[in-house]
Every structure is written in C-alpha cells, then in structure tokens.
C-alpha cells in the first residue's frame, strides 16, 4: 500500500473511480508492484499494448505533409478575405504547398514528397485531418496536446496510461521520454509531468548519449559497489527485523536490488550496435541526417520489446524545430529528411516482428500551419484544423478521418479535439477514459474531464 494516500482515497480509487483496474495506485516501475500487484486489468480489450508517440515539436504543416489541398494552388498569391486569428499580426496572401503530392498504396492516400518513405506504408496509416486545439501558442498547445489542459500542471497522457495500466518491466520506467539532441522542447519537464498523479508516473527522460538514465553510471567500481550493497542488505535486514510493521522498508530494500540490475540491463537496452546491419540501415543509421532520430526509434522498438508502456519522442527543440514562420520549404524538407526514413524503418521493423498490431504509433505536432503565407514563404500557427496520423495498435488502416475546408484552414468534417484524441488513445489501450480517475482537489479527476469522447471511426472494428 502507498502510505501517502489516505485509506479513504485509497478505497475510493480502488472501488469508486477506478472500476476494474486492479490496485491502480500501485505503480509503474515500482518495485512493490513487481511481486504482488503488477497485474492491472484493463477495462476492455487491449488493442494497443504500447504507444510510441512521435511528437513533431513546433507544429508541422498538415497541408504540406498529409492533407493534400489541390485547390490551394488556384488561390496562390490571393488575399484571404475572411477573418484569420494569427499569433503574429498581418497574415500574408494564400500560399500553395511548395511540395508535390502523390497517391500511394491501395488506399491511394495523398502524401507529400517530403515523406516519400513513410508513404510506402500508406496502407497502414490512419490519417486524421481534422484535429483541433484551443491554443494558438506553442507551450500552451503542447500542454494541451500532452495533458488535455492548456495550463501547466495536469498529468500527461503517458502518466495517465501508466497509472492505469502499470508496466511490464520493473527495471524500466512505464513512461519514457526521448528528446532532440539539439535541445529539449520548450515547456520542459512539465510536458511529461505526472501532475497531480504520484511522481512515479512521470515520464523518465532517456538519453542516447552519456548516461541513458540519470545517475546510472556507477560512482565506484562494480566490486566496490557490490561490497557496499552486501553490507547494506545486512544492515537493512536487521533494521527490518526490528521494525516489522512498515511495508515501505521492504520495498526500499528491493529498490536497491532493482537499481543494481538496472545498471546492467539499461546499458544492454541501449546497445543498438547489436542489431543487424540491415535493421540499422532501414532506420537510417548510416545517414548522418537520420542517425540521431533513427537511433531513438530503434531504441523505441527495443523498449516495446522490453515492455515499456508509453514512449514520447520529441523531434525538434528550441531554435530548431517545425515552427516555420518563414522558409517553410527548407525547414520542412530538412526536418522531414531527418524523420522520414527512421519512421518508415520503425513501421517496417515493427510489422516484420509482429509488433505493429499491438503498438500504436502516433505522429503529429501541437498544431498545424495556416494556408496563408507569412514572411513571404512561411506559415503561422493553425490550431483550427490540422493533421496527425496513427498506425498500428488498433487504428484503421489506409484510412482518412475528417476534413479541413478546401484551403486547409479549418476542420469542417468530424473534428477531433485533443480530448477526443486522448479518449481514443486510452480506448485503444483498453482504458475507459471516464472510469480511470484519481481523487484530487475535491473530486475524481480523469484524463479528459468529460470533455472528450472516443472517436470510434478511427478504431479498427476487428
């Protein structure tokens, strides 16, 4: 039992708010959960056992990637007469996409030339062209995307998912975050924070340079550490014998055993060199532009194999990201180049290993970009209608959901709010977003706070 939660809250969370999820206050990655309470039953059938979320930080343009707008070319250079709410004042005239689109696969999905490798998996993609957010500005929109609330402080969906479902590997966190090598996304640690959920559900940043997890590298030699741990075990056991009525003590004794093992198992996880040349190549590890992101995606697959529940990989950080107020063509072309091959490799690899069926891959940014130009060849933020896509994990295949208007400005058909998106992701993970709750600030809080509903249209029926 977690002593920090009162008995009343505890019982409430067991019976009232949480429904079928067994002992959900037990943790993801917590060693206590390891022995007895690791089995957390979902509410219904699980389609997506794992999630890999590719967060394109800064807001990639939907109309230049997966939302083909041939009409826009006709209006190129003309001034849009309606009202446009932009972050920076003075929107410019409409601008056609600088990229060519082609149709791919049996589904015939139109995809921009900058994602020609991902396009080979068109028949696996479930493209949502009608996403909407309420936020015009990066960080509030990022918080909205990750937590369902634009202001800082709510739990991120990765935290909620691990809170509800636990993890399958006590030596790895349930929720892992990887960041762009250039810089972390603006908004920092609040993006993967557990908010009012206990801190154990926080996303744990993994680095693929230096220590993968903070404080993993031994401060002394292995032998000396073993010597210390052996003596520690003796002292702790004596202390436990003197204090038999505190269950935390045993949990903490185990935590040192787990920590010791992590010092071997985590570096083992990071050894992408063990992969075949072929595998490394499909992730683009032989291409300097793709190497960093490709390595992260290869790690992502290795983590899926080791039972990590939820991963979020940020592409783009401060200064260098998808936020192209000017020179959209150059920006998107080069950032797509860094991601196209690795993503295609990930989809192919997951599929070949039979993991795609149970792994939900999500692509998208905190918002899209407007069809109007800005600074001659850039675009401003567009939270009114933008594109994300999913693959695997129970999402429909070769399918397009929702529509923006002919210019790609606003979602006009089947809009999907961020809360809807969260409800749907949790649904695919086997969780009813209205029944997974946590008592905080005077009430049972849920991921969506009754603001979203599951978009069944994008879930595969079978």
């Amino acid at each position: 039992m977690i002593p920090s939660i009162s008995r009343r809250q505890w019982l409430k969370q067991l019976g009232g708010g949480a429904g079928a999820l067994a002992l959900q206050s037990m943790l993801a990655g917590d060693v206590a959960a390891d022995k007895s309470e690791n089995k957390k039953s979902p509410h219904h059938e699980v389609k997506a056992k794992n999630v890999i979320w590719l967060f394109m930080n800064g807001g990639p343009s939907g109309i230049d990637t997966f939302d083909y707008k041939p009409e826009l070319a006709k209006y190129h250079g003309k001034v849009f007469e309606g009202e446009v709410k932009t972050l920076f004042p003075h929107p410019g005239p409409l601008m056609e996409s600088p990229f060519k689109f082609n149709r791919y696969g049996e589904s015939g999905l139109p995809i921009s030339e900058i994602y020609s490798n991902v396009a080979k998996h068109a028949d696996d993609l479930c493209v949502i062209n009608s996403c909407t957010s309420t936020q015009l500005n990066h960080v509030p929109a990022c918080y909205m995307m990750n937590t369902g609330v634009s202001r800082v402080g709510s739990p991120s969906i990765g935290s909620f998912a691990t809170y509800g479902l636990g993890t399958e590997n006590s030596e790895l966190p349930g929720f892992v975050v990887m960041m762009d090598r250039r810089s972390a996304p603006e908004g920092g640690a609040n993006l993967w924070d557990s908010g009012f959920l206990p801190p154990k559900y926080q996303g744990v940043p993994f680095r693929n340079d230096g220590e993968p997890v903070l404080f993993l590298d031994r401060s002394v030699s292995r032998g000396r550490q073993q010597n210390r741990l052996k003596f520690l075990a003796k002292l702790n056991q004596e202390h436990l014998n003197r204090n038999p009525h505190n269950r935390d003590l045993e949990t903490r004794i185990q935590s040192f055993e787990t920590a010791y093992k992590m010092q071997a198992s985590v570096p083992d996880l990071m050894k992408v060199d063990d992969e075949t040349e072929d595998t490394k190549r499909i992730y683009g590890l032989d291409d300097p532009d793709c190497e960093h992101f490709g390595t992260q995606l290869l790690l992502a697959r290795r983590m899926v194999e080791r039972g990590v529940r939820f991963q979020q990989i940020f592409h783009g950080g401060w200064k260098r990201n998808w936020d192209s107020h000017g020179s959209l063509g150059d920006n998107h072309r080069s950032l797509a180049k860094e991601t196209d091959k690795p993503i295609a490799g990930l989809l192919r690899d997951l599929k070949a290993r039979g993991l795609l069926e149970s792994t939900l891959v999500i692509w998208g940014g905190e918002f899209g970009r407007l069809p109007m130009s800005q600074d001659i060849d850039g675009r401003d933020h567009n939270p009114y209608g933008f594109t994300m896509w999913m693959a695997g994990g129970g999402a429909k295949k070769g399918y397009v959901h929702g529509k923006t208007d002919e210019l790609g400005y606003r979602a006009v058909e089947s809009p999907v709010s961020m809360n809807d998106l969260h409800a749907t992701i949790l649904h695919l993970m086997g969780v009813d977003h209205e029944r997974l709750s946590y008592w905080f600030s005077g009430r049972d809080q849920t991921m969506t706070n009754s603001l979203g509903s599951v978009v069944f249209d994008i879930c595969n029926k079978s």
């Binding site: 917590d30 972050l87 202001r151 800082v152 401060s219």
Partner: protein, 814 residues
C-alpha cells in the same frame, strides 16, 4: 491578555514606522549608485526577463525601469529583515485579541447585493460552523496523559481496544525532535547533551530551544511554500527567472520564526500592501499571488483567467481547505459554492497586478523622487535609439522608397497595402531594447533633444540612491466586476459579478459603522483578508481548523482530516473531531500563534510514543489512524539533502537571499535557450553556495533539480497539500551514484580518518549519520567491514559512510 483597541494598535504602528523610516533614511544615504549601462545589460543577459520584445507580460505593472536589476545586496536584505523583526516584536501581537476585530467591510453598494448584503445563514456543515470548545475527556487515573491532546487520543484508542505504546528512547526522541522541528539531525554533541540526564524538563527545554532556532522557520516554510506553489520562475515557454520572487520565500521563513499570528500571516498575504504598506514584510507577503505560473509569450485573454483562477483556487486550497476552483465552470457539485460566488471571489483580484516594489518601510518614495525623472529621460532616450534601429532596418529592406515610406507610417490594420508589406517582412520592425549598443546614435532629427537629455541625465544621475531590496508583489485595490464565464470559457461572457464572499461561511451583517469600515469600504482585498480571519462572521473558524490540521499532519504524517486541503463535503471527516476542534480553539485563543500548538503536540505523550507495535495492534489499525504508536516516516527531499550536509559537517547555515543554483547533470538542463550556462547559471566560486539549505535551492519550473524531484519534491504547478511518498529504483540510483552523495561521503570519511581506532571510526560514523551509537554486534560488523574492505583505509571508510547513508534507518526516522 486582551487586545487593546485597534486605534491604539494603529497609533503604535505609525509611531514605530516613523522611527524605522528615519533609521532607514540614514542608512540609505550611505549608498549611491549610478546606472552603468553595461552593468545593466550584464544583469539583463543573466535574467532573461524579456527575450522577446513583444512578450512583455500584459499584467505586470512596471513601477520603474525593468532594466534596473541591481545585483542582489545580501547585506541590505538582512537589514530589512532585522529591522522588521525588531519592529514586529515591539508590536506584541500576542497582546492582541482577535475577537476585538468584529469589523470588516461588507454591504457596500458596489458589492454583489445578492450574496453579501442579505443576511446569511451560516452552513451547519462541520467545518463551516463556529468554533465551540469541546470538553477535554477526563482520565484522572492515567499516568500516560500529559496534556489534553493525550486525553482526546486515549479516549479514541479505548473505543478501538487499543493502548498506547511506551515512550521512545531518549536517543530516538532526540533525532525525532531535531528532524521534525528544524529538519536537521542532531550532531553528536547536541545528542549527547540531550541524552545526558534525560528528563521531562530537559525535553521541554529542548523543544523550546528548537522552536526558537532560525532553522525552525527554514524547515517549516517548506510546507507552506508547497501550498503556495512558490517558484523562482514563471514556467511555460520563456520560463523567465523571477529574481524578485525570493522575498516571499524569505517572508514565510521570517514569519514562522517570529511566530507571526496565522490570521496576520493570511491577511498580509491577501492584502499586506494595503493593510500595512509601511511594513516591508507585509508587502512581500502578497507575493503569494504572484507565485502563479504565467505564460508571458504572447499571452491570450483566456490565460489571464487561468491566472486568476489559479490565484483564487490556491487561496481557497491553501488557506481555507476548499476547492473553490471547482465552481469555475459550474456551481460546485459538493460544496455550497455557486458559480456566482466563484466569479465574485475572482472579481476581488481582477484588477490586481504584479508589481515590483521597493521593500523599505516608506515604500521607497525617496528613490522614486529622484528615480522617476531619471527614468522618464532614460525611456525617452531608449525610444530614440529604438527609432534609429527601426530606421536602419527599413533602409536595409529590399523595397521601393514608396514602400519604405509606408512602413514608416504608424501601423494601421485597415491599410491593406501596409499589412501585406508587413506580412512579407514579419519581424523586420521588431526592434529590441536589448540590442541597443553603447555607441548607438539617434536619428538626425532627434540629435539636439538627445544631447539635451544626456546633459540632464548627467546632472541627475549622481543624485540617485542605491536601490533598496525589491520584491515581486501584488498591487491594485479597486472594486471591479468580473463577467461570469459560462463553462469557464473566455468567449462566453455572461453578466457581471461584483466582489463576493462565500455566503455559507458568512454570518449576518456585522456592524459596519466602524473606523475600519470607513477606511476600507472601497477596497475589497483587505475586506476579504478580514473576512477570512474573522472567527465570528467570516471564515476564521474554518481556517483555524485547516491550519491546526496541517501542523498535526506535518508532525504525525497524516492529518486528523486526511484530506488536508479539502475540508468540504468531498473531503474526509476528522478521525478525532473533538481534538481538532480543541486545537483550533487553542490556536485562536493563543492569538493565532503557531509555536504554542507545536509545543503542545511535541510534548504530548501521543507524540513521544515508540514506533514499535505488536502484531495485534498493527492488525487493528495498520495505518495508525488512532495514534497508538508513532508512525515511522520517510524524510522529505529537503531533509535528506540537508541531513547529509549537516552530518558531513558541510552545511552552510547562511540564511535568506537569492535562489541558489546547485550543480545538476548537464543532460537534466532541459530548456537550453541560449546555452546551458545561461539557463542554469551555477555559481562557479567555492562550493559554499551549493551547501546552503535546500529551501534556498532554485525552483525553476521547467527544470526540476533531479535529486529533489526524485524524492517527490513538487513542481509548483499547483498548491500541494501532501507530497507523494514514492519508493523507486531511480532514487536508489541517485543515492548510489550522484556526485552530491559522493561529495558528502568523501568529506565525512576524511573527517573520520582523524579518529585513531577503527572502533572510534565506526562509532563516529553511526553518530554522525544515524544519530546513535552502534550496538555491540553492529560495532563488530562495522569494524569487520572496514578491516575486510577494499582499497585504501580512506576508501574503506567511504564505503562504510556510504552504506550508512543508504540505510533505511537514515531515510526513515523513527
């Protein structure tokens, strides 16, 4: 001890202020400072307050040049605090009786009539009703009962067929008292003194000594700072550091050490700038409302409402134990708080602003008299140089002369041609003050005026006084109305609501024909402050219950009400309602002072019990809700870190001042803007700053300090009533491998090396780290561990110290 009349108090206040002011005037005359542009720009690059020219916070009132960031003057800040403490002690708050304060302004025409003017019927919900002192159960034959707390506890224990445990050993009590009261373990001498000829009197004397120690405030402030979601940065995209936030933190430490009565503590935080403007600490206290996270990069209207919601919700949770924020979108589901009342509370803060203020008794007028004209000149000069910068930009553009002329015109959104031009050069006109160079020249047309200004400046600047300490505070006290937002949506504004209190916490209409009323009738914040602490007509009874419960919780691990910030109907009921009520009455009748309550709690037999128990008792009450033993508790992040520093003799006891950046792993510095050094400016001198107590460590919202956040340190996004207590392998990794732990281990081992025998070394290590001597068998195995260890004698000692730091006994206090 009755309170003298309020008039008397006011007169005393004024007299004392005059003396403090004149004391100050002589002090400040000694300081002079001219504003060197390079110094200012240096400061500017250090504190990235305005990276984007367009992102100036919309709701931050600038009372003086925001470029004036004088280096923090530690000495001067201490002078303010010392002067304040002297001043405060002379006021003798303990002589005042809060019952005399049966006044506060309601029923003003501009106030929401339907909620305040009509007589109210107070809710009879347990936490809302008026205080009523319960009878203390009588146990004439008990030798266990030491004070009324024990009588209440023993009665409940009896009902559960439980019996108290024996008193813990003197050694255990010593470590417990030190850690609970000052957040630091005793060192070997302190412990030896405590144990030697241990007696009840000695115990009580030690309690008094610890309650009076400056470390007491440093430890207990952390609980309130959690509730006040205190941080040293704004959060969100810019996450600017707030170099003027720390006076709020210092106010909390100071107030706890001075035992500022809780009612005053609350009133000052709500309206100290109006109630006691001459009082620097009262003004600093309003920082409570400026602790809110705030997005300063192109903030949208809805974000201002989020900020207001945060302020009202945090006040509700921290002070009143109510989740008022639930009524933002709809009437509260469980508690009698309507949506109108929520917006009525919001209206009280609607026109308030963040304001940097001089924290000196007279509000720093002396500085403004000279400073303001200087500022006006500087502003004009800056504008000229910006104009020149803009012209230079326009000249460089690839436009026709006619188009360039169009860009020189004032921006007119209806001018389509101008708009299109601007659309194609998005930031070409964004000139920034930070880009102004020393050798910049104004445009030809401004030259003569520019020279004139420079001359004036050179005359005035030598008269400038050195700046006093500055704090980020709340200002604004006008009556305003707040539109009701349907569903909390900024685009769905409904009818306007005036300032309101919560009607179910209000009794009748008090007599408003008092001096106080005529003075404060127009100002809702002081009214709220007095309503909040009014035990007869306002929320005073509730806040007394909430506050004593918090003190209890922090001594025992759980509150008598387990939901410490939720005293509404969705919260838990008290396990010991009479005890809670009795403690609340004690608090109020002791003039709202906290220390007597601490003293009652820690001198009770209930508190002094051992943590041992029998299987039978454990099964009857596994969570120890009936206090038939003492609960073992894990130390907080701060105490773990501070205890390591103190036990290794490395703790720097310096108090107060600017936040300290400790060294953290480079890869943990997430939001690297210009560079990691810019984002996380570690002091590169000797390591003394890094060895300060944890309460002074910087709280940068987007970059948590890994060692602290691993041990459940909250992230200051919202009011935190009770930290989680997690046990994770990543914590074990931090304790095994972090450089911080290694530094302490190395330092302590080196000191132990001075002991002549292995036996003495083991003995000293146990005393330093675990505050006790080892048992015979522990001594033997410790000596064996060193003898059979690896490497040099020093590294063997390090091994022993490290192991003791890793033990459960170190992390869990008995």
């Amino acid at each position: 001890m009755r309170r003298k009349s309020i008039i008397y108090t006011l007169i005393t206040t004024v007299l004392l202020c005059i003396s403090v002011v004149s004391w100050w005037a002589s002090e400040i005359a000694q300081f002079r400072l001219t504003f060197s542009r390079s110094v200012l720009q240096n400061e500017l690059s250090k504190w990235s307050e305005s990276r984007h020219a367009e992102s100036k916070p919309v709701n931050e009132e600038e009372s003086f040049d925001r470029y004036e960031h004088p280096p923090f003057d530690e000495e001067k800040w201490r002078e303010v605090l010392d002067a304040e403490a002297t001043f405060f002690r002379q006021l003798e708050f303990s002589n005042t009786d809060p019952k005399q304060q049966d006044f506060y302004p309601v029923s003003h025409s501009t106030w929401s009539t339907e909620h305040v003017d009509s007589p109210r019927k107070r809710s009879d919900f347990w936490s809302f009703k008026l205080l009523e002192r319960p009878k203390v159960p009588e146990f004439p034959d008990s030798t266990w009962v030491r004070n009324p707390i024990d009588a209440f506890v023993l009665k409940k224990m009896g009902e559960q067929q439980l019996e108290p445990e024996a008193q813990a050993t003197s050694g255990q009590l010593g470590r417990r008292l030190w850690l609970d009261l000052i957040g630091l373990p005793p060192n070997s001498e302190e412990l030896a003194n405590f144990i030697d000829q241990f007696s009840d009197d000695k115990y009580k004397q030690t309690v008094d000594t610890l309650l009076d120690a400056p470390s007491f405030g440093e430890h207990w402030a952390s609980y309130w700072l959690d509730l006040a979601r205190y941080a040293d940065s704004n959060g969100y995209e810019e996450d600017e550091l707030k170099p003027y936030a720390f006076p709020y933190r210092d106010f909390v430490i100071w107030a706890i050490n001075e035992d500022l009565p809780i009612d005053t503590f609350f009133r000052w935080q709500i309206a100290g700038d109006i109630i006691a403007p001459q009082h620097p600490m009262a003004v600093a206290a309003t920082g409570f409302f400026t602790n809110a996270p705030m997005n300063t990069f192109k903030p949208q209207e809805s974000e201002r409402y989020d900020e207001l919601d945060d302020q009202v919700s945090t006040m509700g949770q921290a002070m009143m134990g109510l989740s008022i924020g639930c009524a933002r979108c709809h009437d509260h589901f469980y508690d009698p708080i309507s949506q109108e009342e929520y917006y009525g509370m919001v209206a009280i803060f609607k026109d308030t602003k963040r304001k940097k203020r001089f924290l000196v008794p007279d509000g720093g007028n002396a500085y403004n008299v000279i400073g303001s004209p200087v500022q006006a000149i500087r502003d004009e000069i800056t504008q000229m140089l910006l104009d020149a910068q803009k012209e230079e930009r326009i000249e460089e553009l690839d436009f026709t002369d006619e188009e360039k002329d169009l860009l020189r015109q004032p921006i007119d959104p209806t001018n389509k041609r101008q708009s299109l031009l601007l659309a194609s050069c998005l930031r070409c006109l964004d000139v920034e003050e930070r880009l102004i160079n020393e050798d910049d020249e104004p445009l030809e047309r401004d030259q003569s005026r520019y020279q004139e200004l420079l001359e004036q400046l050179s005359e005035l600047e030598p008269n400038l006084l050195d700046l006093p300490p500055i704090g980020l505070t709340l200002s604004g006290n006008s009556i305003s109305k707040m539109p009701l937002l349907s569903g909390g949506n900024a685009n769905k504004k409904g009818r306007e609501i005036g300032p309101t209190f919560l009607s179910e916490l209000t009794t009748g209409i008090p007599d408003v024909e008092t001096d106080y009323w005529t003075k404060w009738a127009e100002t809702p914040r002081p009214a709220l402050a007095y309503w909040m602490t009014d035990t007869q007509n306002g929320a005073g009874a509730l806040i007394a219950r909430v506050m004593v419960n918090r003190l209890w919780k922090n001594h025992f691990g759980t509150g008598l009400v387990s939901t410490a910030s939720e005293f509404g109907s969705s919260g838990a009921l008290p396990t010991h309602p009479d005890l809670l009520e009795w403690l609340a009455c004690e608090l109020v009748e002791n003039g709202w002072k906290q220390k007597p309550i601490h003293r009652l709690i820690v001198t009770s037999a209930t508190y002094r019990q051992s943590t041992r128990t029998t299987n039978q008792k454990y099964e009857l009450d596994p969570e120890n809700r009936f206090y038939s033993r003492h609960s073992m508790r894990r130390l907080s992040a701060e105490v773990i870190r501070d205890a390591m520093l103190k036990s290794a003799n490395r703790l720097n006891r310096e108090m107060y001042g600017q936040a300290v950046f400790p060294e953290i792993p480079q890869s943990a510095i997430y939001n690297t803007q210009e560079s990691r050094e810019y984002t996380w400016p570690v002091y590169l001198g000797d390591d003394s700053e890094r060895r300060r107590r944890s309460i002074y460590l910087v709280r940068r919202r987007t970059i948590p300090i890994p060692f602290m956040s691993l041990f459940d340190f909250p992230d200051a996004s919202f009011s935190c009533a009770q930290r989680s207590q997690t046990t994770l392998p990543t914590q074990a990794l931090a304790l095994l491998n972090s450089p911080f732990v290694a530094e302490n281990v190395a330092h302590l081992a080196q000191q132990l090396g001075n002991e002549t025998t292995t036996q003495a070394q083991v003995q000293a290590a146990y005393l330093a780290i675990l505050s006790r001597s080892p048992s015979k068998s522990e001594l033997t195995s410790g000596m064996d561990f060193i003898r059979n260890g690896m490497g040099s004698p020093n590294s063997r000692l390090e091994d022993l110290c490290h192991v003791l730091y890793l033990t459960n006994e170190f992390i869990y206090r008995n």
